[in-house]
């Protein structure tokens, strides 16, 4: 179980607002954070990852406390068991596909999981290539594999498909579903694409003006 109680003053396009979120994510749940841009979706993700410090609140993941403002507790991202996929791919340009994955493993860990994941993302043939020759879809598959290699407690996806064309997006969505079915890790997807949310997530939260305006099954949600 992941508990999030976050409070943070942010500045949006229409001036400053307060982000206030109180959420519980069940183990293995695929949850989407949906909403207009500037609503604070990515901020929630970044606070969970440890890249942004909330003004107040609590983050508990399983038995671990990652953040607790009342005790002044704040774990840096390195100490949090997270996997993160960025919109901008963020593969290391100086490393091959294989080395990008190997970099994710702790020293001395078995490399069997690299081969397994390369097969899953169907990129075994390109493992010695540098990222800059890959297509956007291929890059994002490598980024996804890199993020789940350490078997994190939570997988964070920050608009991972929004830079891809429709066809690639469909393929990546299938892959995300496969990965989630196979590894079952709790997943938080940030997206402004309702169709994508409905295809992938089992639960969605609509974030509007800094607070959650809807929390339920994506299929039951209707715009307006």
């Amino acid at each position: 179980m992941i508990h999030l109680q976050l409070k943070k003053n942010l500045s949006g396009a229409d001036g400053p607002f307060t982000l206030e979120v109180d959420l519980a994510i069940a183990k293995g749940e695929f949850m989407a954070l949906y909403g207009p841009s500037g609503a604070g979706k990515t901020s929630v993700l970044r606070m969970l990852a440890g890249f942004m410090r909330p003004d107040a609140g609590l983050i508990r993941v399983g038995n671990e406390t990652w953040f607790q403002s009342s005790k002044g507790l704040y774990l840096p991202p390195q100490k949090r068991s997270i996997g993160m996929v960025f919109q901008a791919y963020s593969l290391f340009p100086n490393m091959s596909v294989y080395e990008n994955l190997a970099f994710a493993l702790p020293k001395g860990a078995s490399t069997d999981s690299i081969r397994e994941l390369l097969a899953l993302i169907e990129l075994e043939g390109l493992q010695d290539k540098r990222p800059h020759i890959l297509s956007g879809g291929q890059k994002q598959r490598v980024a996804l594999a890199r993020a789940i290699l350490r078997k994190p407690d939570i997988l964070l996806l920050d608009e991972p498909l929004s830079a891809l064309d429709t066809k690639m997006r469909g393929k990546l969505q299938d892959m995300l579903r496969t990965v989630h079915a196979r590894y079952g890790m709790s997943t938080l997807l940030v997206s402004h694409d309702l169709l994508e949310v409905q295809r992938l997530a089992s639960r969605m939260c609509l974030l509007e003006g800094g607070s959650i305006a809807y929390d339920g099954a994506p299929g039951d949600f209707h715009l307006g």
Binding site: G50, F51, G83, M84, F86, S90, F92, N94, H132, R146
Partner: protein, 227 residues
């Protein structure tokens, strides 16, 4: 060409090499700290580091001369307790050159680090990598053009140094008489042919360095667009 004394070239290159290596050791942590760990003193420190860009070299040379002379507290202290003499010696030239070329090392490094994609750093942190590992494995290997620019500019700038060296090093053959000083000495002695040869070699060298730095920068910008 047979009468051309090559010792000043050897000295100039040795000085430039020592200065460049020393400034890499000093400049890499300093540039990292200035870009990634901004603190309140940042503006003050950057202004101090940038001083050699606007000050006449003789001003820096004059203060070093005043500090290092055996009558001054620092010069006296170094001489009495460590038997170290910095005035009119090669080690003194290296320290003076490092101060004088510091902005030429720092500015390309800072520009390179500032343009570095932040999500690459965050991607490494999210994989559990420490700032130290991230610096060596991710930031440095992907900043090679900035490192090369910084190194080449520092090297070339040290080769072209004159005022500071004249003030704190003088013109001791084999110790502090570098090429730029030799040109001055030859002109003083009305030996224009020798001065011309030294000057021409420096001119070609400096041009080649800048040509390399600029073409590297253009190529790197193209590379960044590919990412």
């Amino acid at each position: 060409m047979s009468d051309l004394d090559l010792l000043p070239f050897y000295l100039s290159f040795k000085l430039a090499a020592y200065t460049t290596i020393g400034l890499f050791l000093l400049g890499l942590p300093l540039a990292y700290w200035l870009v990634f760990r901004p603190k309140r003193y940042k503006v003050l420190l950057e202004s101090l580091i940038g001083l050699p860009l606007v000050l006449p070299p003789t001003v820096l040379g004059f203060y070093l001369l005043s500090l290092w002379s055996p009558e001054a507290w620092l010069g006296g202290f170094l001489a009495e307790y460590f038997h170290v003499h910095l005035l009119f010696t090669f080690p003194g030239l290296v320290i003076a050159s490092m101060l004088y070329s510091l902005p030429f090392m720092l500015q390309p490094l800072q520009a390179g680090f500032r343009a570095f994609p932040e999500t690459l750093v965050e991607a490494a942190y999210a994989l559990g990598k420490s700032p130290w590992t991230t610096f060596w494995r991710v930031i440095l290997p992907n900043s090679l053009p900035a490192l090369l620019s910084a190194g080449m500019l520092t090297f070339a700038h040290t080769i072209g140094e004159f005022g500071v060296i004249l003030m704190v090093g003088g013109s001791i053959p084999g110790e502090t008489k570098v090429v730029a000083i030799s040109i001055y000495d030859e002109v003083e002695a009305l030996n224009y042919a020798a001065a011309n040869r030294y000057a021409f070699i420096l001119l070609v060298f400096s041009f080649l360095v800048l040509l390399t730095v600029y073409s590297l920068n253009y190529r790197h910008q193209k590379f960044l667009r590919l990412l």
